[in-house]
């Protein structure tokens, strides 16, 4: 499974915008209902470099999913702006530069696995997005090579989520947004999926913004962990994870890992 995908050559990545692949500039969000308003995000600024893996962590209801949806253009920010490769989130949607993976697989049950993976290629054809690789290759990459013709109901939750990851990768988006993608899985499957995702990420090298409330998950996956405060969400601290890559399960007892976990626990408690 050691192949890399020609779509991302190192030379091309080096020449791209150095200021930030993804820029979140003073984004705030207040939800208005008829008689109340809820301040979900106070003011968040963030710059993500190309090919970087950044995790948003914070207590439930701190607005991390909201922030992710604003970055993905599904919700409009009340104030502030988002830029993806120098363009707005809405433009990034139109050029199919956003690959979303949600907490639930949200596959189309009437489609086979391969047809589900190809969904993003079929939609919004005018965007002229190109395939990252063949459907067979991406299914092999997510470990579902034998299941191309299966239907989602024949797969386990973890397998369905792999299909959702393949679906978000196939049209080669500039940014992969993952909203607690392993949140609905049992702990054993979940722990395995972290390293699966790292392996997939190692082969595709996408820029990833990943939401979680699992401390080990954040450390294992990330280059940087953004810790958010309880509602209204603000950036409390950004922590660099200096653990070498490729990472493996043995590192979860390394002193560096334990130190960062302690620090995160402290920040999330305060």
């Amino acid at each position: 499974m050691g192949q890399t995908f020609s779509a991302v050559s190192p030379a091309a990545t080096a020449s791209r915008d150095a200021r930030g692949h993804v820029v979140v500039d003073r984004v705030a969000k207040t939800f208005q209902t008829q008689d109340t308003s809820v301040e979900a995000i106070r003011e968040v600024s963030l710059a993500i470099r190309e090919n970087e893996f950044v995790t948003l962590i914070g207590p439930s209801g701190c607005g991390k999913s909201t922030l992710l949806r604003i970055v993905g253009g599904l919700i409009e920010a009340t104030t502030g702006r988002v830029e993806i490769r120098g363009r707005s989130a809405q433009e990034a949607q139109r050029t199919k530069d956003i690959g979303f993976v949600f907490q639930q697989p949200a596959l189309l049950p009437w489609r086979t696995v391969s047809a589900n993976v190809e969904l993003g290629l079929e939609l919004n054809k005018g965007a002229g997005a190109e395939r990252l690789c063949s459907t067979d290759e991406i299914l092999a990459l997510v470990g579902l090579g034998a299941f191309a013709k299966a239907h989602p109901y024949q797969l386990s939750g973890g397998m369905q989520q792999r299909v959702a990851i393949a679906r978000a990768l196939i049209f080669d988006p500039a940014l992969l947004l993952m909203d607690e993608p392993f949140g609905a899985l049992d702990e054993i499957t979940r722990a395995g999926m972290r390293y699966e995702l790292l392996r997939i990420w190692g082969d595709t090298r996408k820029t990833v913004l990943f939401v979680t409330h699992s401390i080990p998950e954040a450390i294992v996956l990330s280059d940087r962990v953004v810790v958010m405060s309880p509602r209204p969400g603000e950036v409390r601290e950004i922590i660099d994870v200096t653990l070498p890559r490729p990472r493996n399960e043995d590192m979860e007892s390394a002193p560096e890992f334990v130190r960062i976990a302690e620090r995160l626990r402290h920040l999330l408690r305060a």
Partner: protein, 275 residues
């Protein structure tokens, strides 16, 4: 890699073996036989005259004799019901798409549709005879009017039933409204539409037959009317029996096709396609 186990894991469910199917259906068959045997015995014990309630043994030969005639007449009934079903379904779907997209249309016209539905359809049959005469048209109109409402209601519910996260995925890749409608909402509507179809097949037949009872040159409803006028009770029972059998056949066909079309939907997977 355990490829064989994996491929086996997603073999489509081709259904139970013949033996298992027999085991599942024999109580129903037994019940049916018991019903007719009981009927026969009761008629013989009580010496009920044939012009009040005929015994099955008296109906069966008559049905056999009349079968070609009934089949011919029924083709008119079926044609009226089928055309009415197609019209009612089409209008219902178009109405639902419009109402699901524009709330103002729903607010304006849904109450009207409810009112239309609340008029007992038998009540307008005589009017349709005056307007449209004795041919196929009044039956078609009746069948359309009856089948329209279940489609409208179910289709609106179905169009709104799409998985919100799947919808977000569509939006996140810049899918158009048309793409969302045809590739997501419409597919999510199919189970709802099928539920409406299953009710409507029998409703459309009922509508066509009522139309024929009031005004007809042809159709199984006309046959029943004639047998009533001549007090040919045996032929009447035979015609009713004919309708019962065709009704069962149509229902079985609908269930079978539902399992084929909606194999992916949990209603089919969990209930084995019953009901």
């Amino acid at each position: 890699m355990t490829a064989t186990a994996a491929t086996r894991a997603f073999q489509p469910n081709t259904g139970a073996s013949a033996l298992a199917r027999l085991r599942r259906t024999w109580p129903a068959v037994f019940g049916l036989i018991a019903f007719f045997v009981g009927w026969e015995i009761l008629i013989r014990l009580t010496n009920t005259p044939v012009f009040v309630v005929p015994a099955p043994s008296a109906i069966a030969p008559r049905l056999w004799e009349e079968l070609p005639n009934y089949a011919y007449e029924f083709s008119y009934t079926l044609a009226a019901a089928a055309i009415g079903l197609v019209i009612g379904t089409s209008v219902g779907i178009v109405g639902a798409v419009l109402m699901a997209n524009w709330r103002i249309l729903e607010k304006s016209f849904f109450p009207l549709a409810v009112m239309l539905k609340l008029v007992p359809f038998v009540a307008i049959a005589p009017l349709l005879r005056i307007w449209l005469g004795y041919e196929l048209q009044p039956k078609i109109v009746l069948a359309s009017l009856i089948t329209f409402f279940p489609v409208l209601v179910n289709c609106i519910a179905g169009l709104r039933s799409a998985d919100p996260l799947a919808l977000e995925f569509f939006r996140s890749v810049g899918a158009s409204r048309w793409e969302i409608l045809t590739r997501l909402r419409w597919m999510a509507t199919l189970p709802y539409l099928y539920a409406a179809f299953k009710v409507n097949v029998n409703l459309a037949l009922a509508g066509a037959i009522v139309g024929e009872l009031f005004s007809s040159k042809n159709g199984i409803g006309k046959v029943i009317n004639e047998t009533a006028l001549t007090l040919d009770i045996r032929a009447m029972f035979a015609a009713i029996m004919f309708l019962a059998v065709t009704g069962v056949a149509l229902t079985l066909f609908m269930n079978w096709s539902e399992r084929r079309v909606l194999f992916w939907h949990e209603s089919v997977r969990t209930s084995g396609g019953r009901g």
